[in-house]
Symmetry: D2
Subunit: 264 residues, 4 copies
């Protein structure tokens, strides 16, 4: 399965401004980058730096005036997939150090607040079955409503309002997983069939490997839009605060954003 990705951004900067981009498919073993190119209009400065957990890269740029970014890539996901409901939890005391922070609260995922809820609703399941119960609950209770949430909407807000976009589904999944002592992180990615076409986001949970050797991250898309086999990951973080596609350290006017992901 090959996926062809085209992303185009245009924005203007009145002053020389630092901008951080994170839009490229990550070079990681689970997905093969067959080809890729990132073209952009001239600027003062460009630098790539590794992103969170060494998954993917961010690009710093300093520029002024109109900036155009064109990213094209062909990527073949090749990840081993385990059916999440069949996976055991990894006892917390066996979690590796780099996974531990994903047990804790973050800006938009106030996991501590969901303790009583997950105990009451999902108390008879654990590990992959717990995650599956959370996903199923979201599918049943939530409505996908573009525009119903904003950049400051938290998992708690979404939980009571029962609607949102991919970002919000991911946040609630993450908060409930962490409240269940299952490490969970936020993944920014490209996927086909995202409607309307845009950057997408899902949760990942850390569960015992099915070969019994340690643990592995498993993607969970409670929106049901993208299959794990067709995800092209960009980057990971605690929640959406960590993996914006575009962060500006000064006034930026976004003129155009188009994302296209097609099966090749």
């Amino acid at each position: 399965m090959k996926l062809d990705i085209e992303t185009h951004l245009t924005f203007t900067l009145d002053q020389p401004t630092d901008v951080l981009l994170q839009i490229e498919a990550a070079h990681i073993p689970e997905q093969e980058i067959l080809s890729c190119s990132l073209d952009h209009s001239a600027g003062e400065h460009f630098a790539r730096v590794p992103a969170n957990d060494m998954i993917g890269e961010r690009t710093w740029m300093r520029a002024k005036g109109e900036v155009s970014i064109d990213y094209r890539a062909s990527v073949e996901p090749c990840r081993d997939l385990s059916p999440v409901p069949s996976l055991d939890p990894l006892p917390t005391h066996l979690l590796p150090g780099e996974v531990v922070p994903y047990l804790f609260d973050s800006r938009y995922c106030q996991a501590d607040r969901f303790q009583a809820f997950v105990d009451a609703e999902f108390g008879d399941s654990q590990g992959g079955q717990r995650v599956e119960a959370i996903r199923e609950w979201l599918t049943r209770k939530f409505a996908y409503v573009p525009g119903a949430s904003g950049p400051h909407t938290t998992a708690l807000d979404s939980f009571v309002e029962r609607r949102g976009v991919c970002r919000d589904y991911a946040h609630v999944t993450i908060a409930m997983a962490r409240a269940s002592m299952i490490p969970a992180r936020y993944v920014s990615l490209y996927g086909p069939d995202v409607d309307p076409q845009d950057f997408h986001a899902v949760a990942e949970v850390f569960l015992a490997s099915d070969d019994g050797e340690g643990g592995e991250w498993q993607p969970v898309d409670a929106t049901g839009m993208v299959e794990a086999a067709e995800m092209v990951k960009i980057g990971v973080g605690r929640d959406a605060a960590d993996v914006s596609f575009l962060t500006s350290f000064g006034q930026l006017n976004l003129r155009d954003k188009t994302v296209s992901v097609t099966r090749g």
Copy 2:
């Protein structure tokens, strides 16, 4: 300057429970561990894992019943100190990848909300002078009031209520620094003269090195309790959610906690 540290914890666990400890002085170049010991009562499982940014370690333990922890260490801080107000900002586009996440919002530090405030109050300063202005503002406006805040108090709560403990001073410093495009993190540490004696916390900000080569983390204690030269660091994180001294994944009753830090 040698500092002698003694920490004692006693707690009980009704069920076999996973517990995460982070109470030991970190083995990092800026502080020499002259001696250290961590004694604890028997348990099922112990494992050390690296903590955030590879600074210090966390200890996983699984145990049941009464648990006693005794930690003793003699540590000699030997960090190079730069006067913070004299340091330049490091332009964001020159920030290394591992520092970038410290620009973003975290659970208790909603930096985005403080943008207008820092522009209005501190708009004529930048870099180390901005940090100094923030520290000075906190010293002037805040009251150190044990018990006035709790584990869910955010930087925004503290900002309006103008009081708190070391945790809250650090959170407000961090939120305002990030809102000023200065990376900032939370440091858990031991220090003499903390009154009442307890674990302490300060902010660290990332500013240009005074030799002009990249940047360095600089501690800022807006409570004024501990000098940078006498800090013994335990660990770092985005905010207090990342560096608890004790996290339990199940019911835990804390029976006793004593911390003693004396100049040797």
Copy 3:
């Protein structure tokens, strides 16, 4: 059914301080005050003022030093009771002016946030049946846990944490009723069988009278502790912010509070 009430408060005031008390059974047609007395130690000033909706009174006092309050009353509730589930909604456009404010959001009852939830969970019921569905949901999902909430806990907090005391049950009932376009208010009251003995609180909803003439307030106790026939009302308001038993405009140390309600 006669109820004997004894309330005792002792507090100290370091400075001359204004204090507002609301602890007396209201003189309203639905409950007959057979006898009552309010004794208090000397003070500078006392004044009674009507409370919200002209239900009950508040007592202003200005005093210094130790203050003791003894309230005793025998009260016979004699309200007409309608089974809530059988009552129709009163169309909002027929609501009298003084009831309209109880449709709106208040400090602890963010009704607007519960719109999607009540539509999804209770969408097939209205009026008294909707209220009954809300009450039943709370009974099933919530745990009565003294100490789990505090004076700043909102209906939204309680909703996600699924536990609280009478105040929190009332707030969630009110928020969900208002989100269902049913006016709802907070009632402070005395009742037998409250465990532990204390002031109690319930929600009241405004539904069509069963004689078809306008509407009436109906009490709903989602904690299940007190029957409507045995409630002795003190006062009403938008939520707990409106009907504290004791509000001090300066430092007050509460030394003792005892409430006793027994069937006579």
Copy 4:
């Protein structure tokens, strides 16, 4: 001074829907209604009900399809004006019963959170001078930025973000006045020079009358847009949650809203 007011609203309702309007100048002694007319397209039901504190009226309507509302009035304000900074506080224990609720927290005005701030910033003033200090602080620190806030923005949000519209200026004034033990309410009104022309809102505070007989409500417009002598009041409430110009109990699409206030 005569003010001519013209308000036009057009909206559509897909279903028969209850709508609550509050757009008419209140018939109160402090302003003389020289002429007024409220024209609207046909509907199923219309009823006027008294609004909060018996100031002004609300209109219930039930309608479907396109609805047009035209309101015209000529009003001559004739209120006695006292210079706010010269007024004494009325001791809380002398406050009349109907004013007491305006001491308490409401949906958007979390007065309890501002206690430490007002003590620290305005601690050396009281009564009218305190109110003047609050107004002056807002004038100095806040920026009037249409679009920077929304219907859920609270006084606490505005306080940290230091910007907003008339609604937000009023909320912060109210919260700080209540934290200063001065009753404060929200007033919806018409005024000339509001830019852009729209409904306006200010705070009112309850201070001792300058004749020494009880207290009176005094308007305070921290935006500086409208003089007290030119305000035409529509209604009052705890905060903006209480006095919307238009509340719909079902889906409503606002097509047009124009407000014109001119000196006659």
